[in-house]
Symmetry: C2
Subunit: 144 residues, 2 copies
């Protein structure tokens, strides 16, 4: 690897891009009074897809610390979007799932999210998407 890379701020660019996306999403949520944060949305999206999973699995799926998941779930429970159920098989486990209100929230916000994703990918091709995925995957696997 040539030294150009070493001095170039790829970390910064990743960070800046992610912040831009996150802020854009949050401002849209706020201006439409969706009463939700970006990370709360990410959990809801995963709960909709997986129906009924544990904190641990949710943490793995979202690349979040289990601590963080636990606290975000707490907020979602307070908003009546999510409910917890202690497992009867293994009483250490807590299953989490969307309430009917949570499912409605998902269905309400989903179209907005699709629109915002389209906006981010404007002027980019399917190949660009593949390239980005490939490069990020290599970086991810490079790191111990």
């Amino acid at each position: 690897m040539h030294d150009t890379f070493v001095s170039n701020p790829s970390f910064f660019k990743l960070d800046a891009t992610l912040k831009k996306i996150r802020n854009y999403w949050q401002k849209n949520f706020d201006s439409l009074n969706k009463d939700i944060t970006v990370d709360q949305w990410l959990l809801i999206e995963n709960l909709y897809k997986h129906k009924r999973i544990t904190h641990n699995e949710l943490a793995r799926l979202t690349s979040k610390d289990i601590t963080t998941v636990s606290r975000i779930i707490e907020l979602l429970v307070k908003k009546d979007l999510v409910e917890r159920q202690v497992s009867t098989d293994d009483r250490r486990k807590v299953y989490v799932q969307l309430t009917p209100a949570g499912v409605n929230k998902y269905k309400d916000i989903r179209p907005l999210v699709l629109e915002m994703r389209k906006t981010g990918w404007k002027n980019l091709s399917e190949q660009d998407y593949q390239e980005l995925t490939r490069i990020l995957d290599v970086i991810y696997s490079n790191i111990p």
Copy 2:
């Protein structure tokens, strides 16, 4: 833009990769007792490069909120790595620069950072770097 993109989790992949890098950096800093966080390092790096700048400029350079910069600088001042000077021209402005200890900290940590960047870019080419940069720049500019 085809619907594949819209349903595919590019935000998640960016977020996961950045977290992986950040954690790797922090663990290295910690295990070598560098007594610094990743974001504190990013400010020090910019202060070394720009010598003497205001909070505002530092915020712009690092893509951070001026609130966040203000607080990180506060921590760095406590560690005697940075000093603040109110501008005589415009008494609203506060200039920030590294202390001699701050310059030493930069020189101490810099080689480690170069090594870690190399690790992240293993098995990737200069063209991959250009591609990543290009794609992230387009996404960034797509977002209002």
